[in-house]
């Protein structure tokens, strides 16, 4: 997991596996980073994610709830095909916004017409 900051947005590049064991670390580290940076919006880049199960999806959805409650926007990028099909099965494809690249996601977040919390 690595963190990058771009204006009002925290970008998290995922790596490894997201399951019952790693979900709690993921939550803690992302929440801490959001607190430290004060970022209102979150981009989760899933490119390096090797494995995810329903517990992992739950942890991702949890971040989405929290960001949305705070008036921000959360976007998933570089979603691997297998994760995409799990999101579809879970009925989350309509809830979680996905963009191809971090750049695309940043544009969506920073566009005044598409919402997202102000900088």
């Amino acid at each position: 997991m690595s963190f990058h900051r771009s204006s009002s947005c925290l970008i998290v590049k995922m790596s490894g596996e997201l399951d019952l064991s790693s979900a709690s670390v993921f939550k803690e580290r992302v929440d801490e980073e959001l607190r430290k940076t004060g970022a209102a919006n979150l981009i989760l880049n899933l490119q390096g994610l090797d494995f995810v199960d329903s517990t992992g999806l739950g942890a991702i959805l949890g971040r989405h709830r929290q960001i949305t409650l705070g008036g921000g926007k959360m976007i998933l990028t570089s979603v691997p095909p297998k994760v995409q099909s799990m999101l579809e099965m879970a009925g989350l494809f309509s809830v979680l916004q996905c963009e191809r690249t971090d750049k695309d996601a940043l544009q969506v977040i920073e566009s005044p017409f598409q919402g997202g919390a102000p900088r």
Binding site: D19, S21, S24, G58, L61, G62
Partner: protein, 143 residues
């Protein structure tokens, strides 16, 4: 090829990965595709996570993962995975299987649905206070 493995683990979160990676390696000799192996990993991860999360709310317990492959027809190349705990059990299995139903707030209630989607068959046996056994079967598609 006939083969058997039996793996008993303490119900702690880090052992979920041990179970799914052991079964995935065990299954590899059957000629599953890469994405079928991924599906097996998710199904095993869900079943073992359930034992870790739900079976022993008041203390320590174990989960046993048995996997077998047969070489006799008509079961040639079939993977059978059984995940068993001796924990709390499920009072209403039909309800537990409903997508989105979970007795733990932060959870998705999708474990049993994913097992059903990713494997060819799923059988849940459970008795409150006695424990739960999940039996899943998968055959490689190219056969």
């Amino acid at each position: 090829m006939k083969n058997e493995m039996s793996l008993t683990l303490l119900c702690v979160p880090s052992n979920v990965a041990v179970a799914r990676i052991a079964v995935a390696t065990f299954a590899a000799s059957l000629g599953f595709s890469v994405s079928e192996i991924e599906e097996i990993k998710v199904a095993v991860s869900e079943a073992v996570s359930n034992s870790v999360l739900h079976a022993y709310p008041h203390g320590e317990g174990e989960v046993t993962v048995r996997a077998t492959t047969e070489d006799s027809e008509p079961h040639g190349g079939e993977l059978v995975v059984e995940v068993r705990d001796t924990g709390a059990g499920i009072p209403d299995i039909a309800k537990a299987k409903e997508p989105g139903y979970s007795t733990i707030p932060e959870h998705m209630g999708l474990g049993l649905s994913f097992m059903e989607s990713f494997m060819d068959s799923l059988l849940v046996e459970s008795a409150p206070g006695k424990g739960t056994t999940v039996r899943m079967v998968k055959r490689p598609c190219r056969q």
